[in-house]
Amino acid sequence: MDAILVQILNGLDKGSAYALIALGLTLIFGTLGVVNFAHGALFMIGAFCAVTLQRILNLSYETVDPDKTDFLGQPLKVKTPYVESWFGPDVGAAIIDWSVPLAILFAIPVMLIFGFVMERGLIKHFYKRPHADQILVTFGLAIVLQEIIKANFGANPIQTPAPEMLSGVATLMDGVVYPVWRIVYFCFAALIIGGVFAFLQFTTFGMVVRAGMADRETVGLLGIDIDRRFTIMFGLAAAVAGLAGVMYGPINAPNYHMGMDFLVLSFVVVVVGGMGSLPGAVLAGFVLGILESFASTTWATTTIPGINQIIIYLVAIIILLTRPRGLMGRAGVMED
């Protein structure tokens, strides 16, 4: 029983990562009709915002400790971060400790600007081009971004730990423990998803964007500058992807190809959810997350060997064959 509960939690947690990425992807696809293969890269860039902030906070000056030696036998240079010398060791250490939550503040403007620039500079010109061209250009961009990160940060994963306070485990029930940060992640995802939904559902911006999804030209005829809103939308999607990345850092250490790892999966999630449907993408994210968790239990893998390897794809096939447009897809979107 407890085991099932924990697997459900795991599923929700995985699901929230899938749902967040898929949400951003659907925003871009649904509004702009652009198949964005660089979306995974946006997620990765978000995670590297946290890495960068961590590096900035850890900028240090060096003092020589004559008692110790380094690997070449020379006196060891000890590094002290500037923040520690400015704010005192305790406060400084605390700031460094909280670098991931702080990175949220850092990532929001960075990702928004990144999204704006990407849309204005590149994507804008591809609205009317075939999806194949969009795939090629965004895939090219993804590679470029990835390589730039690799050139600067290396290929090895870089830990961005959660603050001490949030990194232990929480006892939810007798015998059921769960990592605090994963609970935080889930709540954060719920908050973002709720926020995006509320924003789109209850503001006129949302109505305009929904209208723009359906018919750009007519919305323009009504005096609305839809391009600007689309740019904002792209920035928003980039920010959602980026924040998902920042918060994901403590769960799994960021590396330069984490975006590619998620890319295919998030496309599967979006399509299973149904093209153009935001709730569909979120629902599919959670469904696949939970099923994946259950498929990886020993019980499942002993019953059907290898099921954990293929579960997502298997479920995707079954759903797509039984429901022609995924869980909640709209007719006519990307069906030809």
Binding site: V208, R210, A211, D215, T218, V219, G220, L222, I226
Partner: protein, 251 residues
């Protein structure tokens, strides 16, 4: 027939534009294909102009060019509305300057209710008639305000499209085939509405295959053929001119 307004010396001289809406020698392309081949005409304040011509003459393209939609692209020529250079604007700016287009296939936005379709028109300034006033004009829309716009019948959709244009403070109403695919009773009803709108002092350009009905409504008429103007004059003149009717309108 047309006087080219002397726009060359800047803003002040723009006031020399001879009419409310001036279209001067516009040329427009869909990609490589050259469709609007030098169209010029003037519309005066408060009048109804019927823009006629055969299929493929370029009527829709002309209206779309005036409303500054992305396609077709104007490569040459000028469009002035009330001393504002529309040819330098894009579609949402044109709309904000007072252009209201009721497109060929009505373009009711899917997923939105009747009321939301109208609200959408009132997001960007300037705002025209209030939604309540529009429901007074089209009571059938008021009854269906919570219904999704695209599930309306063809006639109601046409009403919604016109109402949506009026929900903005427009100076010129561009109607593209408002009668197409409508039952004769509905056509009568819409015609009544258009007369009502004219009484409100709104300038109108109407494109219609049902030329007789359009000419009966209009003050003046412009006839297009393969992308250029072949006639510009009073509507009654067309009705009286056998040759013109036979050659370009086949009526």
């Amino acid at each position: 027939m047309n006087v080219k307004p002397d726009f060359s010396k800047g803003k002040n001289l723009a006031e020399t534009a001879p009419a409310y809406l001036s279209v001067w020698d516009i040329h427009a392309y869909y990609g490589e294909s050259y469709i609007v081949q030098g169209v010029s005409f003037n519309v005066h304040e408060g009048e109804i102009l019927a823009l006629l011509g055969r299929n493929g003459a370029g009527k829709t393209s002309t209206l779309r060019a005036i409303a500054r939609l992305d396609d077709p692209q104007i490569t040459h020529g000028e469009v002035w509305l009330d001393h504002q250079p529309l040819h330098l604007k894009n579609s949402h700016q044109a709309s904000q300057l007072g252009i209201g287009l009721v497109p060929e296939d009505r373009r009711i936005i899917p997923g939105l209710t009747v009321e939301e379709n109208l609200q959408l028109a009132q997001i960007a300034p300037p705002i025209g008639w209030s939604i309540e006033r529009l429901y007074e004009l089209f009571p059938r829309l008021g009854e269906r305000r919570k219904q999704e716009g695209v599930t309306l019948s063809g006639g109601e959709q046409q009403m919604l499209a016109i109402a949506r244009a009026l929900a903005r403070d427009i100076k010129v109403l561009l109607l593209d085939e408002p009668y197409e695919g409508l039952a004769p009773v509905i056509v009568d009803e819409i015609e009544k509405t258009l007369r009502l709108i004219k009484e409100q002092g709104i300038t109108t350009v109407i494109v219609e295959q049902n030329a007789v009905r359009a000419l009966e409504l209009a003050d003046r008429s412009v006839i297009l053929d393969t992308g250029s103007v072949v006639f510009d004059g009073a509507a009654a003149e067309v009705l009286g001119n056998e040759e013109l009717r036979a050659e370009y309108l086949a009526i």
